[in-house]
Symmetry: C2
Subunit: 307 residues, 2 copies
C-alpha cells in the first residue's frame, strides 16, 4: 500500500565532532520519504523555495517518491543549522529560518486523499488537523515536539485523539504526560487517543506500547562511527511506517518487526551527513544488518532454573 | 558450582523521591550474595563492625550463603548515604564512612580458595590482587569504579589482565578506554585482558561484548515503580554470575541467558529500599518476569522484505 507524508523539507547545516555540511538536503519529510521508499511508494507533501537545488529534486525523483505534492514557491527554503556535542546525543540549534515553511498550508489532492497510510510529520498541530480534514487514510502516524506540547496543547490533543500511532522522544513523553516514569507516561498518553505509542530514546533504543498494556523494547543498533544523527528519528518513522504500508498490517507482530526495520534504517542515517548513506544503501545491506541486529538482541533458548 | 564474592557489606541510608531508609542492610557483597543465592551456594568474604545488627546476620544466614568469611571486628560497619534525584538515574553521595572497611584485608580459607567461581566486588585493585593470590577459581568476574581508574591504574590493569569478565558502567567504560563510542571502548577494554565485557547502562539496559567481536544487547526491564536503585548493579552481577555458576558454563548462549537473569533480578532490587524485595522474592516470580521480559524483547518471525 502507498503512504503519504506531510512535513518539512529543509536545507540543513550541521557540525559534529566528525566534520560538517552546509545546505544539505534535510527535513523530516525528506528522511521519512527516502527511508519509507525502500518498502513502498511515498507521496511527499511539503514546500520548498526557489533556492532549492535542482540536484536535490532529482535525488527525490530518483526514488520511489511522488513529489507532485512538494510545492515550490517564491522565497527561501526552510533552513536549520545545529551543532552536536562530543556526546553526540546532545545538540544545540544554532539557527532556524522558517522561510517558506512559515506559511505552509498542506493541500491534499483528491487522489492522495485516498492513500491508506499517512504520516503527519512534526508540524503545527493545526496543520496536522488541516490534513486530517482533507485525507481519509486507514492508518495514521504522527510526530510532535516540545514546542507544540507547550504552545498548542488543545490542537495537539485533538490530533492525538484522531491518530493511530504516536512517535515521540522520551523527554517529550515525560512532558506530554507529566509523568517521570515512562511506563506511567505511556498509559497517560495512550489514554489521549493513539492505539500505539513509540517512545524513542536515541542511542538507547525505543519502547513500544500497545493499547492492551503490551510492551515491546529494543536497544538501538550499536554503531562504531556515528557521523551525524540528524534525521535518525524521521528515518526510524519512515522505515517503520513504510514497513507497515508494505505489509498492509498493523498487527502487533508486524509492529514489532517494523521496530527492527526502523532501528536499522535509522542506524544507517547516522553514518553520514545528510541522507547520503541512505541514498547509497542497498537492499542487501538492509537485510544483512536486520539479521545481524536480531541476532544481537535475542537469546536462542529460554534460561534454565534450579527451582 | 559454588561461587565466592569479595566486597563491601554496608549500612546504607538512602533518600529517593519515594521515601527513605536508614542504616539498611547494604553493600555490593550483600546484594551480590542474595541475588546469586537463588541459583547457587555463595561464600561471602567481607568485614562488619560490632554495630552490625544481629537481624541482618540472620537474614544472610537464612539464605544459601556461607558467612564464615564475613569477619566481625571492633569498630563501626562501613556506612554510605546518598540521595537520588527526581530523575532516579542521578544520585549524590552525601556521606561515606569507611570505618572497618578501611583496613579490610580479605583472607581466603583453603577450602574457599578452591571454589570454581569468583567475583571481585568493587574494592581497591590491590585487594583484588590479594584475593587472586590466595584463590584458584576457574572463572573470575570483577567490578571496579572511577576512583580506581583514576588513582590506581597500574594495579587495576594487573587485575584486568587476570580476570575473565568485567562489569562496568557506561561512563566508567568511557573513562577506562578514553573512547566516547562504546563499541570502540569495548575493543580497547577487551584488549586489556577480560574475555567478556558487560557495560551497564542502568535504565537503558546493558551491552555484552565477547572477545571474538560478538555483541549482545538488552534493554532493562521496564518498571512502573522504581523505589530505590541502590544495589541494582550488584544484583545484576549476582544474578549473572550465580547463573553461570549454576549452569557451570561460560558458553556465549549461557552468558546471554545470564544477562536476562541479571536484568530481571536487578529490576526487583529497584522495587524497594535495600534488599527487601529480593528477600521476599519467590522463584515463581523470577521465572514469570524472565518469560515476560523475553516476550517483550523479541520478535517471533523475521521481517519480510519486498526486495
Amino acid at each position: 500500500m502507498d503512504i503519504t507524508v506531510v512535513g518539512s523539507v529543509a536545507l540543513d547545516s550541521v557540525e559534529t565532532p566528525y566534520g560538517k555540511c552546509e545546505l544539505e538536503l534535510g527535513g523530516a519529510a525528506t528522511y521519512f520519504s527516502i527511508s519509507a521508499s525502500f518498502f513502498t511508494r511515498v507521496n511527499m507533501i511539503g514546500v520548498i523555495g526557489t533556492d532549492f537545488p535542482q540536484e536535490y529534486i532529482q535525488i527525490l525523483q530518483s526514488r520511489n517518491i511522488n513529489i507532485d505534492g512538494l510545492k515550490q514557491v517564491d522565497g527561501k527554503t526552510f533552513r536549520w543549522s545545529g551543532r552536536y556535542h562530543k556526546d553526540i546525543n546532545q545538540r544545540d540549534t544554532l539557527d532556524t529560518q522558517l522561510n517558506v515553511f512559515e506559511t505552509f498550508k498542506p493541500t491534499i489532492s483528491k487522489e492522495i486523499s485516498q492513500v491508506p497510510y499517512l504520516f503527519l510529520g512534526n508540524i503545527n498541530p493545526s496543520l496536522q488537523l488541516d490534513v486530517l480534514r482533507q485525507a481519509f487514510p486507514r492508518f495514521t502516524g504522527m510526530d510532535t515536539m516540545n514546542l507544540w506540547i507547550e504552545t498548542t496543547p488543545d490542537d495537539l490533543q485533538e490530533v492525538l485523539s484522531r491518530v493511530d500511532i504516536l512517535f515521540i522522544n522520551d523527554s517529550e513523553a515525560r512532558q506530554l504526560s507529566g509523568e517521570e516514569n515512562l511506563k506511567k507516561a505511556s498509559s497517560e498518553i495512550l489514554a489521549l487517543g493513539p492505539d500505539v505509542l513509540i517512545i524513542k530514546k536515541g542511542e538507547h533504543g525505543c519502547l513500544l506500547f500497545f493499547e492492551d498494556e503490551e510492551t515491546f523494547m529494543l536497544p538501538a543498533y550499536l554503531l562504531e562511527n556515528v557521523v551525524d544523527p540528524t534525521g535518525a528519528g524521521d528515518s526510524f518513522a519512515g522505515g517503520f511506517m513504510g514497513y507497515l504500508a508494505y505489509r498492509n498490517s498493523v498487527e502487533p507482530e508486524v509492529l514489532r518487526q517494523a521496530t527492527v526495520i526502523g532501528t536499522v534504517i535509522a542506524s544507517f542515517t547516522c553514518e553520514s551527513f545528510g541522507p547520503r548513506r541512505l541514498l547509497s544503501l542497498t537492499s542487501e545491506e538492509i537485510k544483512k544488518r536486520c539479521y545481524e541486529f536480531i541476532q544481537q538482541t535475542r537469546i536462542q533458548d529460554l534460561p534454565q532454573f534450579p527451582f
